[in-house]
């Protein structure tokens, strides 16, 4: 039974990590047109839970995209300098959408494991009722 409980927490850690990733993706998408915005990413790490000896997922610190900001030519823009350019954001919508798809697919897989583990634990408890 304790094995099944640690499956719950592993699947939950996976869902939490993917949800964090999805959160940063949505921040990136909503700031796609913010001048000077750098794309935020997080990386995942394997973390050993000492209590149960299982490997869970944890999310590392937020990292900002180190690439140079693109220069956009728009002399009428409020932030444009004397040459008519301003700094855009490093967000590429195509990449963000692909990242969001991947995150939601992984989230679903973790959720499926969670549900299946729940059903297995339920089967075990049903033995006691009979």
């Amino acid at each position: 039974m304790s094995d099944l409980f640690s499956s719950f927490s592993i699947a939950a850690s996976g869902m939490e990590a993917q949800a964090r990733r999805l959160r940063h993706v949505s921040e990136n998408i909503s700031n796609a047109d913010t001048p000077g915005y750098r794309r935020k990413t997080v990386d995942f790490r394997a973390e050993i839970d000492r209590a149960s000896g299982t490997t869970q997922v944890s999310v590392g610190p937020v990292q900002l995209d180190p690439r140079a900001l693109p220069r956009i030519y728009d002399p009428g823009h409020a932030l444009a300098d004397e040459t008519g350019f301003y700094d855009g954001s490093t967000v590429d919508l195509m990449i963000e959408i692909a990242d969001a798809r991947e995150a939601s697919r992984s989230y679903d897989a973790n959720l499926r494991v969670f549900d299946q583990t729940r059903q297995m634990a339920q089967g075990l408890l049903d033995l006691l009722r009979r």
Binding site: S13, F44, Q56, R105, A109, N110, V113, G123, L124, L127
Partner: protein, 126 residues
């Protein structure tokens, strides 16, 4: 009559194996996006059970007499089909197949256990 507890013990071992395997599958799926992670798996219950036949212990003090609950360790799955560009070998589809198999064997273990218990109850006349 005395065979039934052995059957129940085997069913118990099978359910325990399924629970341990569920942990390994959950770990694989949770880490499916970590670069360099290699998918792992447990050996099948049939093999484990064949190896875990305890040595005949005629006294409780003998070595191996309590070796029923050996812990299983997961091994790296060398049959993983392809490696992602980031070095990860987890395939979500394969893990889905494994969870389905695992669910089946857990259900089977519980069914065997509960039917053995039913027989035992009938034998006791209750």
């Amino acid at each position: 009559m005395f065979d039934i507890p052995e059957v129940m013990r085997m069913a118990q071992g099978m359910a325990r194996h399924a629970a341990a395997r569920q942990v390994v599958i959950a770990e694989n799926i949770a880490q499916s996006d970590i670069p360099g992670y290699r998918a792992r798996d447990l050996p099948e219950f049939g093999k484990v059970h064949a190896q875990a036949r305890p040595m005949s212990a005629t006294r409780p003090g003998h070595l191996g007499a309590g070796a029923q609950h050996q812990t299983l360790s997961a091994v790296i799955d060398r049959t993983a089909p392809a490696r992602a560009p980031n070095g990860n070998t987890v395939s979500l589809e394969r893990e889905m197949v494994r969870t389905a198999q695992n669910r089946q064997s857990h259900d089977m273990a519980l069914a065997v256990y509960s039917s053995a218990r039913g027989i035992l109850r009938t034998a006791l006349g209750r």
